[in-house]
C-alpha cells in the first residue's frame, strides 16, 4: 500500500466486489467442490453419491493406468521443457548477437506465440499424416515407419515436437529481453576480461540469465502440464484410445467422458497439490538463490 492511501471506506470495497465475487463463485467454490467430490463415489446414473473416504485416492494409487499416465506426463514435461528452453536460448543468443536484421528475426521467431495450441496440433496432423505427411515421408526415407495414433512412441514423439514448436517463441521473447537487459557496461567488462566468446557466455551471460531461466522453467512446466491439452486432444483427434496422455487430459477423459466424477476429482486434487508445491518451490527459490538486484 502507498504511504498516503485514501481513507474512503466504501469505495475500495465496491472496487473489490466484482473480482471477489467472480473468484468466490468460479474459483473457490469449484476448488472446494473438487476436494469434496474426491471423497464421494458418484452414482453412474446420476442418482446421488456415497461417501467413500479416501477410496478414490486409494484406487488412484493402485491404478496401473494412472501410474502410466503419470510416468508419461513426467517424461513429456521434462522433454518439452528442456528442448523448448534450449532451442529458445540458442535462438535468443544469436538474435541478440547479430547486428543486421535483428528486429526482423525477432518478429519471425516470436509470432507463433499467437497460434492456438489446437491449431498447432492440427498443423501437426498435416505434417504427420500417415499417407503423405511431409515429416512422415522424411522419417520413411530414414527407414522409420512413422505411425501417428497407431504407435504409442510415434504419437508421443509428435506431441513433444508440436508442443516444443509452439513453446519456443515464448521462451525466445523472455530470453531475448533478459539478454537485452544485461547492462552494456557488464558486457564490455566481460569483453575486456575474457577473449573467448563461449567463455563469456558461460561465465557472465548465462548466470545473469538465471533468474529469467528459472522463471521460464516454472512457466514451461505449467505449459507442458496444462496448456498442451489442445495439442494432445487434436493430435489424437479426440479419441485417446491407447495413445499417451497427460494427467490433465486424463482428468478430462475420466470426468467428462467417463462420468467418474469422484475419481476425476481426486485426480484434480492431486494436480492441485502438485501445482501448489511447484509454486511454493518457485517462491522459495526466487527468494533464496537467484537474486542479483
Amino acid at each position: 500500500m502507498k504511504r498516503a492511501g485514501f481513507a474512503s471506506r466504501w469505495l475500495p470495497i465496491l472496487l473489490l466486489v466484482p473480482q471477489l465475487s467472480i473468484i468466490l463463485v468460479f474459483f473457490y467454490w469449484p476448488a472446494a467442490y473438487a476436494v469434496k467430490s474426491s471423497f464421494y463415489l458418484q452414482d453412474p446414473f446420476g442418482f446421488g453419491q456415497t461417501f467413500v473416504g479416501l477410496e478414490n485416492y486409494a484406487s488412484l494409487s493402485n491404478s496401473a493406468e494412472y501410474f502410466k499416465v503419470t510416468n508419461f506426463t513426467v517424461i513429456f514435461t521434462v522433454l518439452v521443457t528442456f528442448f523448448s528452453l534450449a532451442l529458445a536460448l540458442l535462438l535468443a543468443v544469436k538474435a541478440d548477437k547479430v547486428i543486421r536484421g535483428a528486429k526482423t528475426y525477432r518478429t519471425l521467431l516470436m509470432w507463433v506465440y499467437a497460434v492456438a495450441p489446437p491449431v498447432a496440433g492440427f498443423v501437426g496432423l498435416l505434417l504427420f499424416n500417415q499417407r503423405w505427411g511431409p515429416l512422415t515421408e522424411f522419417f520413411g526415407s530414414l527407414g522409420w515407419d512413422f505411425n501417428l495414433r497407431a504407435d504409442y512412441f510415434d504419437t508421443a514423439f509428435a506431441m513433444v515436437v508440436v508442443s516444443v514448436w509452439k513453446q519456443v517463441p515464448v521462451n525466445f521473447i523472455f530470453f531475448l529481453s533478459g539478454l537485452q537487459s544485461i547492462p552494456k557496461s557488464v558486457r564490455e567488462a566481460a569483453l575486456i576480461d575474457n577473449r573467448s566468446a563461449s567463455g563469456r557466455f558461460w561465465d557472465v551471460t548465462f548466470p545473469l540469465l538465471a533468474p529469467t531461466g528459472f522463471f521460464l522453467l516454472i512457466i514451461n512446466i505449467t505449459y507442458a502440464l496444462f496448456d498442451t491439452f489442445g495439442v494432445i486432444d487434436t493430435l489424437v483427434q479426440g479419441e485417446p484410445g491407447n495413445n499417451p496422455m497427460t494427467l490433465v487430459y486424463k482428468v478430462y477423459v475420466d470426468g467428462f467422458r467417463g462420468n467418474d466424477l469422484g475419481g476425476s476429482s481426486a485426480q484434480s486434487v492431486v494436480l492441485m497439490v502438485l501445482v501448489l508445491a511447484l509454486t511454493v518451490f518457485q517462491f522459495r527459490m526466487v527468494e533464496k538463490r537467484i537474486h542479483y538486484t
Binding site: 500500500m1 502507498k2 498516503a4 492511501g5 485514501f6 481513507a7 474512503s8 469505495l11 475500495p12 470495497i13 472496487l15 473489490l16 466484482p18 473480482q19 467472480i22 473468484i23 463463485v25 468460479f26 474459483f27 469449484p30 476448488a31 467442490y33 473438487a34 467430490s37 535462438l91 544469436k94 548477437k97 547479430v98 543486421r100 528475426y105 525477432r106 519471425l108 521467431l109 516470436m110 509470432w111 507463433v112 506465440y113 499467437a114 492456438a116 489446437p118 492440427f122 498435416l126 511431409p134 517463441p169 523472455f174 529481453s177 496444462f226 489442445g230 486432444d233 487434436t234 483427434q237 482428468v251 478430462y252 467428462f256 466424477l261 476429482s265 484434480s268 494436480l271 492441485m272 509454486t279
Partner: protein, 298 residues
C-alpha cells in the same frame, strides 16, 4: 603541407575481418525462422488446393486456385448438423470471447488492484491473499467442478458462462498491482494536495498513466482468450456458440471419419482464420506486447 605529412604517417588500417561465426549465426536464425514459418505455409498451400489432390498427394509445392472458393465456403457455409456454425459465426464468437475476456479481465483487475494499492483497508491482506491464491491453480485443474457449477447456474452455451469463469484468476490484478506500486508515491500526494479525490485521481491520472500497460495487457489477454480451447469445448455444445478454436475439434473429427473426401481446403481456411487475428495483433503491436509480457512477471 600539414596534410601531406599526415597522410604519409597514416597507419594502415586492417580491413574488418570476415567472420564465419556471423554466417553461422544467421544460418541458425534463418533455419529457426523457417521452422516456425513453413508448417503454417502448408496450411495456406492446402487451403488453395482442390481437396481431391490433397487427399491423394498431400501438401505440394505449388499454390492452387481454390483459395477464394474455400474462403467463401468456410466463412458462409455451415458445417456440422445445425447449420449455425459458419466461419463467420465462429469468428464472431471468437471475437466476443477475446474482447469480452480482455476487457473484463482488465477492468476488474484494475479496480481490484487500485483498491489494494491505494486504500487503507482493514482486510487488505486478507483480500490480497484471497485474490492472489488464484494465481496458483489454473482453470485446468478444477475444470470439472467449474463445469458442474456453470451448469448449475444455467450458464452452459452462454457468453457469460464462456467468459466469466475464465476471468476467475488474478493475473491482470497482479500485473496492475505491480505497475501501480511502481508509480511514484509523490504523484498521489501531489494529486491530493491538488484536491483530487480517489475517483478523480483514478480517472485523471492513474488510467492515463497506465495506457501503455493497458494496451499490452489487452493484447496478451485478447490472444489468451481467443486461443482458449478446453473450456469452450466443455461449456459450448451448441454449434452456434462455437469459437474458431473450439471449431478445430469439430474439423478434426470431420477429417477423421467418413468415406467422403475430407474437406481439407475448408478446414485449413478455418484454421487460418483462427490464427490470423491474434498473430496480426501480436506482430503489429509487437513492442507493447513484448513489454507487457516480460514485465508482467517481474
Amino acid at each position: 603541407m600539414a596534410d601531406i605529412s599526415l597522410s604519409a604517417a597514416a597507419p594502415v588500417v586492417p580491413r574488418r575481418r570476415f567472420r564465419w561465426s556471423t554466417v553461422v549465426d544467421h544460418a541458425i536464425l534463418i533455419t529457426g525462422a523457417l521452422i516456425m514459418f513453413l508448417p503454417l505455409l502448408i496450411l495456406v498451400q492446402t487451403a488453395s488446393t482442390p481437396d481431391v489432390e490433397t487427399m491423394k498427394y498431400g501438401p505440394g509445392l505449388y499454390f492452387g486456385d481454390q483459395l477464394d472458393d474455400n474462403f467463401r465456403k468456410a466463412l458462409f457455409e455451415a458445417s456440422g448438423f445445425s447449420g449455425e456454425n459458419t466461419g463467420l459465426a465462429m469468428f464472431k464468437n471468437s471475437m466476443i470471447l477475446g474482447l469480452g475476456f480482455a476487457f473484463g479481465k482488465i477492468i476488474i483487475g484494475m479496480m481490484a488492484a487500485y483498491a489494494i494499492v491505494y486504500f487503507r483497508l482493514r482486510f487488505a491482506t486478507f483480500a490480497f491473499w484471497l485474490i492472489f491464491t488464484t494465481l496458483l491453480l489454473p482453470l485446468e485443474v478444477r475444470i470439472l467442478p467449474s463445469y458442474e457449477i456453470t451448469q448449475k447456474l444455467g450458464l452452459l452455451n452462454t457468453y457469460t458462462g464462456l467468459i466469466v469463469p475464465l476471468i476467475a484468476s488474478a493475473t491482470a490484478t497482479f500485473f496492475f498491482r505491480q505497475f501501480f506500486r511502481s508509480v511514484p508515491e509523490e504523484l498521489v500526494e501531489a494529486a491530493r494536495i491538488d484536491g483530487a479525490g480517489p475517483v478523480k485521481f483514478f480517472i485523471d491520472i492513474l488510467v492515463p498513466l497506465s495506457q501503455t500497460m493497458i494496451a499490452a495487457m489487452f493484447i496478451i489477454m485478447f490472444v489468451y482468450g481467443w486461443n482458449q480451447y478446453l473450456w469452450p469445448t466443455m461449456v459450448t455444445t451448441e454449434e452456434g456458440m462455437y469459437t474458431l478454436v473450439r471449431g478445430i475439434k469439430q474439423i478434426v473429427q470431420v477429417l477423421q471419419g467418413g468415406n467422403e473426401i475430407p474437406e481439407y481446403g475448408r478446414a485449413n481456411v478455418l484454421a487460418i482464420i483462427a490464427v490470423l487475428p491474434p498473430v496480426a495483433i501480436v506482430i503489429f503491436f509487437q513492442s507493447w506486447f513484448v513489454k507487457g509480457l516480460t514485465e508482467s512477471d517481474k
